[in-house]
Structure formats: C-alpha cells, structure tokens
C-alpha cells in the first residue's frame, strides 16, 4: 500500500495568527490513496489550522500544497471542493430545515433534481448506507447527520476525505461502526485523513499516524506496532500523570443542596424532553450525568439554572435549591431569592463570556451583587481580578482587554475563575471540556475536586465525556430519552461498557 500514489502533499506549511501566534510551523504532511492517515495532537496543536489551510478556509503564510501531484492554491472551500477534497467538519455544514436530498443537491453541480436523486440512490447502494432521503436534517440524530455529511462528499465523487474529530459526537457502537467504515473506504481507494486526539481510535484505524505538537510536526509513524505510551509521549511531550480521584467519601449524612423530584418538562413542540426525573446532589458531592447529546440534558440544565425559560415548560415535579423551591424560576428570579448557583455552560468559550467586553467586565458577569447593587465597585473588582488572574494563571494583556482577543483556553479559565470563586453552594457544569487542551482539563479537574473537598460545594456535572466523569464523580446517573437512571455498578467502580450500554438505551 505504501507504493500508492500521493493524494495530498503539503510542504513546509506555516501560519501565524495575529502578530505572533504560530499555529503551524513548517509542517510537512502527505496522504496516499488507499490509506487512513491519522493526524494526532492536543487541542491547539495546529491540526485544525492545517486542515483549514488544506480546505481553503484559511490561507497559509508559507508553504506549498500538491493534490494528485499538481500544485494548487485554494482561496476558498469551493476551490478545495473542485480540487477533489471533501471535509467532514466537527460542526456539520448542513442546512437543518432542508431535507437530506436537498442538502445533498446543494453540494452538487448537477442542476436537475431527478438526476441527483438517482445518483444518491446509487451511492447509498455502493457504500451500503441506509437513510431516509426525505427527512429534514434537523429531525435526524447526530450520527445520521454525520452520515449525510459524508454522503454529500461521496455523491460529489470526492476521493480525498478529511474527518475532523468525527467521533466526538458518537458513542460506543457508533464509533466502532464509523472506524470500520473509514477502513473500508480507504480500501475502496479513497485517501482518508482522520483527525483526533483520542489515542485508542487512532491506534485502531491509522495506517500512518502524524503527530503535531505546538504547531510543529514531531513524528510520522506507521500505525502497526507503535506503542500507546510512545504516542502519548510524542503528543504531550513530557511525562504525564492522569489525575485520579481520591478516597471514597461518605456523603449519606451530608445536606442535600439540590433536590429534583419527579420533574417532567415539555418543549415548545409539546413533546416531553424530561420525564419523571428525580435525583439529588449533596454537599461536597460531585454527581455526574452521562448522556449522548440530545437526550434532554439541555433542558435539564436550563431548567435548573433558569437560563432559557421560553423554550421549555414544566408539567410536573419540583426543584429545590438549598431548601427553597425554585421550580420554573428564571435565573434572575433565583437571584432575587438571595440564593445563588454557579454555572459553567456548554460552548463556554462562546456563551460563558461576552466577547466584545473587557476581562474585568466579564469577571462581573453573573456575580453582579458581589460588587454593588446600583453602582459597580470597580476598586473591589480590580483587586479581585488581580487575585483571580494570579490564582487561575490566566494570561491576559490587561484587565481592560477585550475577551475576543483571548484564546479559547484563557476564556474558559476566566469562566472557571469567576464561577469557582463565587463560592456558591451548587455548581452546575455542562460539557466543560470542549475546546480545552489536556493540561487545562487536568487543571480543571484538580480545581473541581478541591472545591468539593474544601468548600463542600455540591457539583452537578453533565457531560458525554466518560473519562472526565469517571475521574471526578462520586456517583453517576445516565440520561437517556429524557429519563435519568441512577447507575449502580456491579462492583463499586465505574464500568465503561455498562455506562455506554445505558447511554444508548440497552439495559
């Protein structure tokens, strides 16, 4: 297979953002037809930038690209698509209110809708895929949306397929199926690029593995025979200990901070998104709720934090925070009861901060009453800001700088600093680690465990990241189709297969 023709060859790619953030520093990267080539690296190592350059979304400052041996210069995605490159983005590039077939049609040059339909049928047959072409994309589950995304490329006849962290939205069986398909497509003659930071997947699927670190390529190795530890060392660059939680805590006598009883919630379309949900979080406890996206965790978090009152309707049940009934309260109403909860939202780096405002203004967000009721006590806030920047090791040019000039990691640190430092009795966290690099995740876990231990904070952690949940949680529940089931492990420790099974609806 190593003798196959080169599909992609990128030479000495360099890209600098702003003044001096070197995202790619002289990277060489090539892919052959018939292989799965993995691009491995931490978040921020430069994988996404490299692929954006290849796809014409970003222009490189230096370097050359060859497709099928011909030099190319892609100024926009449409150039790249014409050049035979297909990319499956992390966030799907689909138009939700159009049907599967209409979305496919949009990507093709063919004008006659009838022809597109027959072509689509042929591709589905050839690649052994089954999907309802007349369904609207927004009604499909995430893994089928991903399939639509891929089918779009196959209908277009793209021979080069790039997958940007495709497994991040999948679980268990779905991951295995995708990896199997990737291998099959490579065998059918496609050149497949698989971008990931997950070691197991890369080891399983990669014919070759290129490792990026800090914008540089540190290695390109054959997939067969490479050791897992060796790969980790290449990727992280130093010895690296994963943080594990400490001793079992006895929480049975601790006070219940959050109590959810028989909660049922309907969405705007009058469908149940939560059904008869009951659980509680005690002082000092980290309670995790695991689940695949779209099983009601959005509604659960929104209804507890009161952050999206329009879109949901409580039909039954009760939520109590610190003994006060907050059922159906908006966040501002909760605050008016003189109780408070910390909240780290999903996509935190975008919605947890107001990016056009300054760092100091963002430290004020949600903590309003701490710094005055009518007038803002800037002096107090400044002092506090200095402490937080120091303690949480946030690198900012100044407290006046706009948050939009900060990196994703530092934005998240601002949110962590603000929410963790507010010393609320309850902290709600939803999918915190998207967009964080490994070190930031460890930093986050450490802070979380300290908070539960030293401050007795009750923490509700909702995530689909099982590694994270296993590392920090005292107890776990699983959310599936609007129901939260407590997880009782067979022997006291968390079991990946048992949880995955529950998350996908098995017993």
């Amino acid at each position: 297979m190593s003798t196959s023709a080169l599909a992609i060859e990128m030479r000495q790619i360099r890209k600098v953002y702003g003044r001096d953030v070197v995202a790619n520093d002289g990277i060489d990267f090539d892919v052959r037809f018939g292989e799965v080539h993995c691009l491995l690296g931490e978040n921020g190592a430069g994988k996404s930038t490299l692929m954006k350059i290849l796809f014409g979304l970003v222009q490189a400052d230096e370097g050359e690209i060859f497709i099928n041996g011909n030099p190319v210069k892609f100024l926009s995605p449409s150039d790249a698509i014409n050049g035979g490159i297909g990319m499956v983005h992390q966030q799907f590039k689909l138009v939700p209110s159009l049907t599967v077939l209409e979305n496919i049609a949009l990507g093709l040059n063919e004008k006659k809708l009838g022809k597109i339909e027959s072509e689509f049928g042929r591709v589905c047959l050839e690649y052994d895929v089954d999907i309802d072409k007349n369904k609207k994309v927004k009604d499909l589950p995430a893994h089928e949306q991903q399939l639509v995304e891929i089918l779009k490329l196959l209908c277009l006849g793209q021979k080069i397929l790039i997958f940007d962290e495709p497994t991040s939205i999948l679980v268990g069986e779905q991951i295995q199926q995708l990896l199997k398909r990737l291998k099959e497509w490579a065998k059918m003659g496609h050149a497949v690029v698989f971008i990931s930071h997950k070691m197991n997947e890369v080891l399983e699927v990669g014919d070759r593995i290129s490792v990026l670190r800090n914008g540089k390529k540190v290695a390109c190795v054959e997939g067969d025979g490479i050791e897992r530890d060796k790969l980790i060392e290449l990727m992280v660059g130093e010895d690296f200990k994963e943080y594990k939680r400490g001793e079992e805590k006895d929480l049975s006598s601790a006070e219940k901070i959050l109590q959810v009883d028989n909660l049922s919630v309907k969405n705007q379309e009058n469908k149940f998104v939560l059904e008869d949900v009951s659980f509680s979080v005690r002082e000092g406890e980290i309670f995790g709720i695991a689940g695949i996206q779209g099983n009601g965790q959005d509604a659960l978090v929104e209804v507890i934090t009161g952050t999206n009152p329009e879109s949901i309707r409580i039909t039954d049940g009760k939520i109590e925070l610190e003994g006060i009934n907050i059922t159906g309260f908006t966040s501002s109403k909760i605050e008016s009861k003189k109780i408070d909860l910390g909240y780290i939202p999903p996509k935190a780096k975008d919605i947890g901060v107001a990016t056009t405002l300054s760092v100091k203004e963002n430290l004020l967000l949600r903590g309003w009453s701490q710094y005055g009721n009518v007038f803002v006590n800037w002096r107090k806030l400044y002092k506090r800001a200095d402490e937080l920047i120091e303690k949480y090791n946030i690198s900012v040019p100044s407290k006046e700088a706009n948050v939009s000039t900060l990196s994703g990691g530092n934005r998240i640190k601002i949110i962590l600093a603000r929410e963790l430092s507010r010393q609320t009795k309850l902290l709600v966290i939803f999918d915190p680690c998207t967009g964080l690099d490994v070190k930031s995740i460890e930093f986050f876990k450490k802070n979380l465990l300290e908070l539960a231990k030293n401050n007795n904070t009750a923490i509700l952690l909702v995530s689909n990241d099982l590694d994270l949940l296993f590392d920090v949680c005292d107890s776990l529940g699983v959310i599936f189709r609007g129901k939260v089931l407590p997880y009782q492990s067979s022997d006291g420790s968390f079991k990946m297969d048992e949880i995955t099974n529950m998350m996908t609806g098995g017993e």
Binding site: Y17, A23, P77, H89, L94, V95, E102, A105, L106
Partner: protein, 315 residues
C-alpha cells in the same frame, strides 16, 4: 356606497398596492437570502428621479423605466459592495444610503431643473394609456381587473416568477440555504457573495420599477419625496406575507387598500375624521400586522436576516 365608488376603491387599492408589492417582492427575495436593505427608500427616490428626468429628456417612458431600474440597481450594487464585500452592518449602511440618496436626489433635481422648476406631464413622456383592450370594456370586472397599466400584470408575473425561482430551482435552493445557514452554505461551496449580490441588485431594480410606476403611471408627476412611505410599508408587507411572493402581493394590496381609504373618506365626506388619521392609518395597520405575524409566523423569518457573514478565520 354606490357601485362606482366601490369600483374606484378597488382600482385605487390595486394601483396603490402595486408599488408596495414590487418593492416587497424584490426585498423579500433579498431577505430570503439574508440581506436586509433599508436602502430601498434610497433606491426608490433615485429611481423616481431617473425615471422622470429620462422620460423628460428622451420622451420615452419605456427607456426611462429601464434607466430607472439600472440606476437603482447600480445604487444597490454599491450597497452590496458595502455589506457583502466589506461586511459592514446592513442596518447602518441602509440608513446611510437612504440618507445619501435623498440628498443626492435633491442635488440632482437641482442640477436638472435649477430652482426646482420640475416639468409637468405635459412636457414629459409618461405612460398615457392603460388597460387591456376589449377586456377592459367589460363592466365592473373589466375596470377592476383589466383597466390597469401593464406594470400591474408585470408585477403579478414577477411574483410568480420569483416564487418559482425560490422554490423550484437549484438557485432558489441555494438562496434558501444561504438565508438559513450562511456558514454551512459557504462550506458546501456555495458562492454566498454572488447570491447576495444578485438578490440585492434584484431588490434595487424592482425598486426602480416601482418608482417608475409611481411617477410615470400613477401620479404622472414628480416631486421630491414622491416615493415616501412605500418602502416602509413594503417591509411590513414582507413580514405579513411570510417571505412568500404571492402572499407578499396580497399583503401589499392590503396596504394599498388602507391607503385608498383616505380617498373613500373624502368621497363620503367623513369630515369628522381628520386627514392625518388616514395618513397614519397604514402605519398603525403595519404595527398591528407585525404583531399578528410575529405570533403566528414569527419563526419563519430567514435566520440569517440582517446578519453579516464573516468567514471564521481563527485557529
């Protein structure tokens, strides 16, 4: 109310509704792909001026109409450059262009006719005949349906044409996709800028047509500010019409009807109702319409309406 009065009320409804419909159709087409043009007010003023000055110079209303469409389209192309290529705020540019065009038209009118001695229809080649021969002789129906100028039927044709383009063609599919999710469309290789240029220019040209209708067909006269109000009502008609061409036409006719009530009030000598009430009535109706529409069809507005699209260029 006697029959004659009723007929002329209907005729007025159509003739007052037609320019609102033309503007609404073009602008609705544009909004379907995202761009909001508050500049339509400016395109209309410019179109009205160009149509009159050209009809005066060339004595040919057809050429004058085409010139008005080209001029308004050109101004729209300038707007497209600002909001699509330079990514400036559509709302601010819209207000700016409306202002710019208004002042420019004052100046151009001054240049064409110093001291604003604007020629009347005696000296200007306006459209003089209207209606479809023979059919317009049919009592009642003939007058209401077939007595109008060709532009009215053209407007209906344009409505169906745009409806077909949006819903049945590949271009329409792309247009809807851009208005629904620009980032996704861009990643699919759709040329977002090209589509937005096209729809903005179409919106401008239809404003030129509407303005020409107002000066050369309806009023057969030109004064500064003749197009006032039409643009605003068209914006409301689009919301009421839920961004669907045939419904926009019906909504525009509703506003034409409300505007023609002024005439009814005068004819019936309802002197207790001051004329200002008739003048503000269309806008009161417009606000009520916006309220009703938002309850019923609020979700149907194109999600990318009035949003600037800047391709993400971050690591």
């Amino acid at each position: 109310m006697d029959l004659n009065l009723f007929i002329s009320l209907l005729v007025r409804t159509i003739s007052l509704g037609t320019p609102i419909a033309l503007v609404g159709l073009g602008e609705g087409f544009s909004q379907k792909a995202g761009p909001l043009n508050l500049g339509i007010i400016g395109y209309l003023s410019l179109g009205a001026y160009v149509s009159w000055v050209m009809a005066y110079r060339l004595q040919n209303p057809w050429i004058a109409t085409i010139m008005a469409m080209l001029a308004a389209g050109l101004l729209a192309a300038f707007v497209a450059f600002l909001v699509v290529t330079l990514n400036l705020s559509q709302i601010v540019v819209g207000v700016g262009v409306a202002f710019f065009a208004e002042g420019l038209v004052c100046l151009l009118t001054f240049i064409a006719w110093p001291n604003y001695l604007i020629p009347t229809s005696f000296n200007v080649g306006v459209f003089r005949t209207a209606g479809i021969p023979i059919l317009r002789e049919i009592p009642f129906i003939g007058e209401v349906l077939f007595g109008h100028h060709l532009f009215v039927y053209l407007m209906v044709g344009i409505a169906f044409l745009l409806h077909y383009i949006v819903n049945k063609t590949k271009f329409g599919l792309k247009l809807r996709a851009v208005g629904e999710s620009t980032a996704a469309s861009d990643a699919m290789g759709i040329n977002v800028a090209r589509i937005r240029y096209i729809v903005i220019i179409v919106s401008g040209m239809l404003c030129g047509l509407a303005a020409s209708y107002m000066t050369l067909v309806r009023a057969r006269a030109y004064v500064l500010g003749i197009t006032g109000g039409v643009g605003f009502l068209a914006l409301a008609a689009i919301v009421l019409g839920a961004w669907k061409s045939p419904r926009i036409v019906l909504a525009a006719l509703l506003f034409g009807f409300v505007r023609s009530l002024h005439f009814l009030g005068q004819a019936q000598r309802w002197i207790n109702i001051p004329s200002e009430v008739w003048q503000m009535l269309p806008y009161i109706v417009a606000i009520i319409v916006l309220m009703i529409s938002s309850i019923r069809i609020g979700a149907e507005a194109p999600p990318e309406l009035a949003r600037t699209y800047i391709r993400e260029d971050e690591a």
